[in-house]
């Protein structure tokens, strides 16, 4: 098997299954097979999907720096799948809030979406992810051309909105949020550094 085949027939199925583990654990814990969701299962599900949404946008944004540093170009082939898993976890986080937490009570949902800034921020991230997921096929990419690149730069915005959303709902202890903020800064900082370097090289 050449690298391309390895990615396609071994790497991708393996990574796909791995990405499903956090979701499978939520289901397993809900039925008390793999563990438990604790006294407040709705909140636990909300927190787990949310934090995995943040982790997955970080993992997705790590693909490009890792590829450049290691020279492993095949990493790029996982980027779409990782991005779609980000969307999946954020969507589950959103649906849990909508259905289990708010019980589809429209007045409360509308109030939260219009009056609570941290929820608006999270919702904006979800809309950006939705737009990227909907245009993630090869066909769409071809048809959209340069506009596709522009749209998919919003992955950076999703990272920023995600960490901001996480930060803003914390009552007091921001130590975990700091970790994500630092990782995100490194991932975005790398890109700024890379662009400067390119410009300098081009300038001569």
């Amino acid at each position: 098997m050449n690298t391309l085949q390895k990615v396609r027939f071994v790497g991708k199925p393996l990574v796909f299954l791995l990405c499903l583990v956090p979701a499978a654990l939520v289901v397993g814990d809900a039925f008390e097979i793999t563990g438990r969701l604790g006294a407040n299962p709705v909140e636990e599900i909300q927190d787990r999907f949310g934090i995995w949404g943040i982790r997955f946008i970080m993992i997705t944004l790590a693909v490009t720096p890792l590829r450049r540093i290691t020279g492993w170009n095949w990493l790029l082939r996982f980027r779409r799948m990782l991005g779609l898993f980000t969307f999946f976890y954020v969507l589950m986080h959103f649906l849990n809030w909508l259905i289990l937490d708010q019980g589809l009570l429209l007045s409360a949902i509308f109030e939260d979406l219009t009056r609570r800034p941290f929820i608006m921020i999270g919702f904006a991230a979800l809309l950006l992810l939705l737009a990227m997921a909907a245009t993630s096929t090869d066909g769409m990419r071809r048809r959209m051309g340069r506009r596709w690149d522009k749209l998919h730069y919003s992955a950076y915005a999703v990272g920023l909105l995600g960490v901001w959303h996480y930060w803003w709902q914390i009552k007091k202890d921001t130590s975990d949020a700091w970790i994500y903020a630092i990782i995100l800064s490194a991932l975005l900082g790398y890109r700024i550094w890379w662009r400067r370097k390119l410009k300098k090289n081009r300038g001569g």
Binding site: G38, N40, V42, E43, R116, K172
Partner: protein
């Protein structure tokens, strides 16, 4: 000679809700037969220093709700007690080695009687009562908890605050060795809370020394904690070492941390939202994955007993 080591409490020995409720029926039946005994002279509260020891001579209270209490496990594994960590499960995880003895409580400030008392001596002057109260957390979840405690009003009366005493201030133990959460400055330690004298003299607040008819678990604020059922849970200061009668409104921990979000009064109020979330509805712990949130009641449903305390006070400003 065979020396048997006493076994630790096994999970199988934990009182199930069914047994517990049966026990209540049993007490109820007994209290009819032995009404004269229960009405007799009080012996004073005795609180053993073992974990999960049964409390004796616990009277029932007319203030108890008839709602079904939460499971013992919910009450003791899901709560906030930042002295043992900021996660909901942290107190349960990290408070197991905490030893709430020896314990002393200092009563100070504008009162006829003041001093430092051993916990056992402090508690002995009062009678134990069970109070099954709704508990509404500021984070919009709630439980029903069968506390055992002594009436705060009785305690206040005993120490005879002078006319200068307008507030009662409480403090938690400050000991980062025994309370590992205090090694990080998440809050400005020690934890502080306070009530107006009128609030403290209301018949509802108690100094709780137990739950489910047993001694207070470490993670819930052993050996003694405040319970004020019409206020958000953070008013219920745990592991109290100091009670101070003061003239000025005392500083309170969450108000010091974020004044815009947590006021001194912190009365449960569905009409005044937390700046970041709605307080109109609450999630009842133990109601299940698919249960809807339920409406939050003004003063957590205790308006009949406490609304008069706030007549003329703008509860939007004094949140």
């Amino acid at each position: 000679m065979l020396i048997q080591k006493p076994a630790d409490i096994r999970p199988s020995e934990i009182t199930s809700k069914e047994n517990y409720l049966n026990r209540r029926d049993f007490i109820r039946a007994g209290s009819i037969a032995g009404a004269s005994v229960l009405a007799g002279p009080a012996l004073g509260a005795i609180v053993p220093d073992q974990q999960r020891a049964r409390l004796a001579d616990v009277a029932r209270s007319e203030f108890s709700t008839i709602e079904a209490p939460n499971d013992y496990e919910d009450v003791t594994t899901y709560n906030n007690f930042y002295e043992f960590g900021t996660g909901k499960d942290d107190p349960h995880q990290n408070a197991q080695d905490f030893d709430p003895r020896p314990w002393s409580i200092t009563v100070a400030g504008h009162a006829e009687k003041t001093g430092t008392f051993h916990f056992e001596d402090f508690i002995r002057l009062f009678d134990l009562e069970e109070r099954i109260y709704r508990m509404r957390c500021v984070e919009a979840w709630s439980m029903v908890i069968p506390w055992v405690g002594i009436s705060l009003a009785d305690v206040v009366k005993h120490y005879q605050p002078t006319s200068k005493a307008r507030y009662v201030a409480f403090e938690t133990l400050h000991d980062p060795v025994r309370m590992p959460g205090q090694r990080r400055r998440v809050l400005d330690w020690p934890y502080r809370e306070g009530l107006t004298i009128a609030e403290a003299m209301n018949p509802l607040p108690i100094l709780a020394v137990g739950v489910y008819g047993e001694t207070m678990p470490n993670q819930n604020g052993a050996p003694i904690r405040l319970v004020v059922p019409w206020k958000y849970g953070f008013k219920g200061i745990k592991s109290i070492v100091r009670i101070n009668f003061v003239e000025k409104q005392p500083q309170t921990s969450w108000n010091m941390a974020a004044a815009r979000e947590y006021g001194f009064y912190a009365n449960v109020n569905p009409e005044v939202d937390h700046p970041r979330w709605s307080q109109a509805r609450e999630r009842r712990i133990g109601a299940g994955l698919f249960a809807a949130r339920q409406p939050t009641l003004m003063f957590n449903g205790y308006g009949e007993q406490v609304a008069h305390l706030y007549s003329g006070l703008d509860l939007r400003k004094n949140y």
